[in-house]
């Protein structure tokens, strides 16, 4: 499956984050790479979306809708910050 990038997840993730997620800067818990979420690799499937680190391919964030809930797993992100 071909990936897109974090820009494509902006709408979905606006349901979770009050701030624009594409401008958030995330640090990968796996390799330590730090960069804008807009540059993460995004894989979209029927039920949800997976964001992966563009450097080490680790899962940064998983967003799943189903079974009557919206579930966000983001243990692959050590820290996320927004320029203010």
């Amino acid at each position: 499956m071909e990936h897109l990038d974090g820009n494509a997840a902006a709408g979905e993730l606006s349901e979770v984050f009050a701030l624009d997620v594409t401008t958030a800067v995330a640090t990968c818990a796996g390799c330590g790479m730090t960069g804008p979420v807009a540059q993460a690799m995004v894989y979209e499937a029927g039920m949800g979306t997976v964001l992966r680190c563009p450097q080490c391919d680790a899962v940064l964030l998983r967003y799943v809708r189903g079974g009557g809930e919206l579930r966000v797993e983001m243990r692959g992100i050590r820290v996320m910050h927004w320029p203010t």
Binding site: L4, G6, N7, G11
Partner: protein
């Protein structure tokens, strides 16, 4: 109940106008309740619901400039697409569908910025870059800017007429078939082409299919461009 409409809320948009751009693409002007403007480069999510309740959702870049008011999206019909053929072949004025947005504060450009900009489009990746160019023109921005468009053939070049007067150098390359008297590029964007055409040292925006975007970005980095000065947006099918 709150009467405030947020960008994240789905709203019923009405098609105010449709204009064909190419044999396979059309621009739709939308009336969106509570629309509060956008930034050049942003996109909207759209959702179509079939009579049986089946829903399909896509993201489309906004083609119009922030100054234009009502948002316009340009949709290119993709072979075997589920949603895009509806927009290009079926949709009519007055039709309604759901929209939310605008989204994305990263792949955007504002006329207050002073760095030179290099815009590189693969096919309909031109759409958000066109919003930036229209914004640049409307705002009277003098920042050096250049556009490189990779298209399969002349029929695939969006906004071809308007590009002639947009006020920046436009370089085209045809990857499948060039017009008969064409003397320009006839190959995919490669390192040599970027070396010859790109404004280096400013900010670069690249939009297109994933492979296109990644190839071009890799070449630019190899040419010495700092990755932090390269902003990319990949689009997918449907």
């Amino acid at each position: 109940m709150s009467s405030v409409i947020r960008a994240t809320d789905w709203r019923e948009a009405t098609v105010a106008a449709i204009a064909p751009e190419t044999p396979r693409a059309a621009t739709l002007t939308l009336d969106v309740p509570g629309w509060d403007g956008h930034r050049a480069g942003q996109h909207v999510d759209v959702r179509l619901t079939a009579e049986d309740g089946y829903r399909a959702q896509r993201s489309y870049s906004i083609a119009s400039a922030p100054e234009d008011g009502r948002p316009m999206i340009t949709v290119e019909e993709l072979f075997d697409g589920e949603v895009s053929p509806w927009f290009v072949q079926v949709a009519a004025e007055g039709d309604m569908f759901e929209v939310r947005g605008p989204f994305g504060g990263w792949f955007v450009w504002d006329a207050s910025e002073t760095q030179p900009i290099m815009l590189i489009a693969g096919g309909s990746g031109l759409v958000p870059l066109m919003s930036m160019l229209r914004h640049r023109r409307n705002a009277g921005s003098q920042v050096p800017a250049k556009l490189l468009v990779s298209a399969r053939e002349a029929d695939d070049v969006l906004y071809a007429r308007e590009l002639e007067t947009i006020g920046v150098d436009v370089v085209l390359t045809y990857t499948r078939r060039a017009p008969r008297d064409w003397t320009g590029y006839t190959r995919r964007v490669d390192r040599a082409m970027l070396q010859e055409t790109a404004i280096l040292g400013g900010r670069t925006y690249i939009c297109g299919p994933t492979t296109f975007v990644e190839t071009v970005a890799d070449h630019l980095v190899a040419l010495g461009e700092p990755p932090a000065n390269i902003r990319t947006e990949r689009f997918g099918g449907g």
